[in-house]
């Protein structure tokens, strides 16, 4: 069974079988990913791109094959469209500083949405401080869906860039990014899509979306920590100045003048997270093997089961009820702070996240300081959902 592939799932915490419902924070890794990392360290340990010796050749091939696997996963035209990064946060900051920064004048606008993760808010706030540009926000409604009524005003001649989240990590909302991109492009606004929470669950096709940039977080899609990729359209990547200066991103250095390397090397200064990149490639292959359709179907089933189950608990309120959503449940229980719920159900072996989930503005909207969040992945089970419900009932009993 698929679940067997994930070693960390099979353990007890606080004397109970672990129920891991914190997948939106970071996913579990299948053994093939762990093995890929391990094999690099135990068999192919070398730096890449710079060596004539055997190990270096092997490591380089593995790293570049990983890039190709990721390209296949998100259907990029070429592996050269992908830049290895630490994660989505670095990807957004990279685009903000190298692509957007030089396009901004004071008074220009950057458009994001109310559903963004802090990593797709703060880099733009910093950029606004640096340039005098303004941050504009697509509003949301009570169901946690974006309200697109005012898009025509929000997208105007001052709008120089749009950056939107594909799937909300806090509420699970799946945004109509293809539609948003088409509208933005009609006004010549380039678009970045934050794919941290989509790639683990949905089939993503960057060419079909026609996004200008797309970010992938490795650790959320069953890959190693410190791994991720930024997809960019070739013309953009060619035109952008480099981000970090260092080795690998140059083709010639003198003290007077430096010639930069080609894309994607231009953006990959220094020794990258080689083991992480190789492991991420293994994660992409794993997902393709399991089947993106199969993953989506299984998760859709789990989502419905969980929703039903949570609704049996009196006093439990689910935040975010978008018609399109992924198996993420933010909820509150009357009279018990999320934090206390987290502690209590942890003692039943159930791992959820509590707090603002790096999306404070969403909780400002709902006027609560945070929530409990149960986020599921395809390897979770109905039985685990039952345990969650039972443990929540116990928490209620304790506080009654």
């Amino acid at each position: 069974m698929l679940r067997e592939a994930f070693p960390c799932l099979h353990q007890q915490v606080n004397g109970k079988d672990l129920v891991y419902f914190d997948n939106a924070a970071t996913a579990m890794r299948p053994q093939v990913v762990i093995d890929a990392v391990n094999d690099y360290y135990c068999r192919h340990n070398a730096n890449i791109h710079r060596g004539v010796h055997c190990l270096s050749g092997r490591a380089t091939d593995l790293y570049e094959q990983a890039r190709a696997s990721l390209a296949r996963l998100i259907h990029a035209p070429s592996p050269d469209n992908l830049i290895f990064v630490r994660g989505c946060t670095e990807a957004v900051n990279l685009v903000a500083q190298t692509f957007v920064r030089e396009r901004l004048k004071p008074g220009d606008e950057i458009l994001i949405s109310h559903l963004e993760h802090h990593s797709n808010i703060v880099p733009w706030q910093i950029l606004c401080q640096q340039t005098g540009a303004k941050l504009k926000v697509i509003p949301m409604n009570d169901r946690g869906e974006l309200v697109l009524d005012e898009l025509d005003t929000l997208m105007n001649e001052r709008t120089k860039f749009m950056s939107v989240i594909h799937v909300s990590n806090a509420l699970g909302t799946i945004n109509p990014v293809k539609e948003l991109i088409a509208k933005a492009h009609a006004k010549d606004i380039p678009v970045l899509v934050d794919g941290a929470q989509s790639t683990p669950h949905l089939k993503v096709d960057v060419q079909d979306l026609d996004c200008d940039f797309y970010t992938v977080s490795g650790h959320k899609m069953y890959g190693p920590t410190g791994s991720g990729v930024l997809y960019g359209k070739a013309t953009h990547l060619e035109a952008m100045p480099p981000y970090h200066g260092g080795g690998e991103m140059i083709s010639k250095v003198t003290f007077e003048e430096t010639v930069y390397n080609k894309v994607p090397a231009k953006f990959e200064a220094g020794t990258p997270n080689i083991a992480g990149g190789i492991g991420l490639g293994a994660a992409a292959e794993f997902m393709l093997d399991v089947g993106l359709e199969a993953i989506a179907q299984r998760e859709d089933h789990l989502k419905q089961y969980t929703e039903q189950a949570l609704k049996t608990i009196p006093g439990l309120r689910i935040l975010g009820e978008a018609s399109q959503k992924s198996p993420v449940f933010s909820f509150l229980i009357d009279g018990i702070h999320p934090h206390d719920i987290g502690t209590i159900i942890d003692h039943h072996g159930v791992a959820i996240r509590t707090g603002h989930h790096c999306t404070m503005p969403i909780f400002q909207f709902f006027d609560v300081p945070g929530s409990c969040r149960a986020s599921l992945a395809f390897y979770n089970t109905e039985h685990e959902v039952d345990i969650l419900v039972e443990s929540l009932n116990q928490a209620k009993a304790m506080f009654s």
Partner: protein, 148 residues
Amino acid sequence: MSDLNTLYKQQVLAHNKNPQNYGEPAHWTHHAEGLNAICGDQVHVYLTIEEDVIKAAHFAGDSCAISMASASMMTELVTGQSIFEALHLFAAFKQMMSDEGLAEAKEVLGPVACLVSVKKFPARIKSALLCWYTLNAAINGQPTATTE
């Protein structure tokens, strides 16, 4: 489950349900806001200080039971104390929650000492500490505090 019961013991649940000195008072002389970014705990501490004595202490905010109980007990404890004494109590509380956890600190703290059981839940220690850091900030005229 016994650990859980020592964390959410009677006193804690009672203070959580009926927090003392809760809500922003009409008048105060010192105020600070405490934030635990990571947990989302937030607490405001309002003090009325006259001639170096804390005449009144209130708190507000939306926090977990541990944080609520700790703040509730703290405001009871420091009311009527001198600033000097309050800072001493802060030090004692920190000491109690630290690895060493000196016995004398417990003595000084009276009923507040029952929060020592939070130490078994390292992830929650900050919840108990937050209001104290905020008290300290308010006394020292700093607008914000965090335990991190």
